[in-house]
């Protein structure tokens, strides 16, 4: 427990933590605020039979479309969290800081667990703020038309799924950084994993392969299969999202325990 508290202190005192966290949240607020007029217009133009056109030429039932838009705006920011995870995890590989930490916490598995848990706690906090900002932005647009929409079971289930995706996928970034022992390589590997799926090359060419990447799993978990081209169901997606951090963190823990402390 004191190891966890120590790791949380390290994260909170790190300048990089607050620069990256601040940049992610500022970007999210900027995009959300800029989208408010579009959303207000789209909600005002809902047809009498309850259909909304969020993208030009795509008319869909309003309530599920609005919830999906809420989740998609959070999901978009969720892509940045693995980078944050990598920055948080990589801070001890400079200047031999890790040796000092191991002097204080010699049991390496304890240190690996405490580090992962502390990164997870910070990521969860950031993900909650992201979800709150998305919700506030949409609330302004729908508050008169659908006052109960954002509190509905469907919306809350989606928010919970987003939080799970955000923390689980970002822990992969942290674990990869612990494996390669470098923030730079950790961030670049994380972005490469994202870029493979962002281009949607795999989704078209090899859907089964696409479905095992964390970002695709996030899409498969959060988005509406009726509107987006998805490559697997939600259960498969959740399994993928849990398997990535568990496997990469296990590898990182074993390597931390066995390698020279550099």
């Amino acid at each position: 427990m004191s190891a966890l508290r120590a790791e949380l202190t390290k994260i909170a005192r790190l300048r990089g933590t607050w620069i990256v966290t601040g940049a992610i949240l500022a970007l999210h607020v900027l995009i959300t605020v800029a989208n408010v007029p579009n959303n207000v217009d789209a909600v005002a133009a809902i047809t009498p039979d309850g259909r909304i056109e969020i993208f030009a030429g795509e008319s869909r039932p309003a309530e599920p479309a609005l919830i999906e838009m809420l989740l998609a705006s959070s999901l978009q920011m969720g892509l940045f969290l693995p980078v944050l995870g990598a920055v948080l995890a990589g801070s001890e590989f400079r200047g031999g800081q890790l040796r000092v930490s191991l002097l204080a916490v010699p049991r390496r598995s304890t240190l690996a667990l405490a580090k992962t848990a502390a990164v997870g706690v910070h990521l969860f906090g950031v993900a909650v703020v992201v979800a709150v900002v998305s919700t506030a932005g949409l609330h302004y647009a729908v508050r008169n038309r659908f006052p109960g929409l954002l509190g509905s079971a469907e919306a809350l289930r989606g928010q919970a799924a987003f939080l799970a995706f955000a923390v689980l996928s970002a822990l992969v970034g942290a674990a990869v950084t612990l494996i390669v022992r470098s923030t730079l390589v950790g961030v670049l590997a994380t972005v490469a994993i994202l870029a493979v799926t962002m281009t949607q090359v795999l989704a078209v060419a090899a859907p089964q392969v696409d479905a095992v990447f964390p970002l695709s799993a996030g899409r498969n978990l959060l988005l509406d299969p009726a509107a987006a081209r998805l490559t697997a169901g939600p259960a498969h997606a959740l399994a993928v999202l849990v398997a990535w951090p568990v496997l990469t963190t296990a590898v990182a823990g074993v390597l931390l325990a066995r390698r020279d402390a550099r």
Partner: protein, 224 residues
């Protein structure tokens, strides 16, 4: 005895050429561009429509590993107090900076000509000159950022994360603004009209390099 400018220039070339990271970056850029060229030639990308931006003819994605050469050239001196040793040899900071900049431009120019070759041989339009210019200008942006931040991590992360993650997110709301970002400006140099993109990318390079020069001249030589 003050070293001659040409000696300082050659010393900087040696520093860049003996850093293993520069060769790894060049090899990665060549391989990446060859792969993207093959993807573009195969037509697989065109058939997927607009969802794919990575493999199209207008792509500049292979520049991401390439800029590491310039970033290492500028940023590697800030590790382990290497800059202090360089300043002991060349106390005039503007001369040291100028030599480093000149060496980086030469290496980036020659390296870019090699790096774009496999892709250009495979692409139908095949014009290499704007592509080389885009590589060099983005390298200079990275060079300046490394000098300002005194790190290799921050510029490389920024130069990859901004075009791959930030631009798509921001571009949905501010499409015009994103066109003025360094990577997007450099990419627009590959198509017509290319003059606006060239001016914007050159402007980024100029601002970034000037800021780095101001930092090198004014800051503590120990690299702190």
């Amino acid at each position: 005895m003050t070293p001659r400018p040409v000696d300082v220039f050659v010393a900087e070339l040696v520093k860049i050429g003996t850093a293993p990271g520069a060769w790894v970056a060049l090899a990665a850029a060549v391989a990446f561009d060859a792969a993207l060229g093959a993807l573009a030639r195969s037509g697989a990308v065109v058939s997927m429509g607009t969802t794919v931006s990575l493999g199209g003819d207008g792509t500049l994605a292979a520049v991401h590993p390439f800029v590491a050469i310039a970033v290492f050239a500028a940023g590697d001196e800030y590790r382990c107090g290497q800059l202090g040793v360089s300043l002991l040899a060349v106390p005039r900071r503007t001369r040291l900076f100028g030599a480093k900049l000149a060496a980086t431009v030469v290496v980036a120019g020659v390296g870019a000509a090699v790096a774009v070759l496999p892709g250009c041989l495979q692409r139908p339009d095949g014009s290499a000159v704007p592509r080389v210019a885009a590589y060099v200008l983005l390298s200079l942006v990275g060079f300046g950022l490394a000098g300002v931040t005194r790190s290799v991590v921050t510029p490389l992360v920024l130069l990859v994360v901004v075009p791959v993650l930030v631009s798509p997110a921001l571009g949905a709301v501010f499409p015009t603004l994103v066109e003025y970002f360094p990577y997007e400006a450099a990419r627009s140099m590959l198509g017509e009209p290319r003059d606006v993109g060239t001016v914007v990318a050159a402007g980024w390079a100029l601002v970034s390099v000037t800021a780095a020069w101001a930092c090198v001249v004014r800051r503590d030589g120990a690299g702190r």
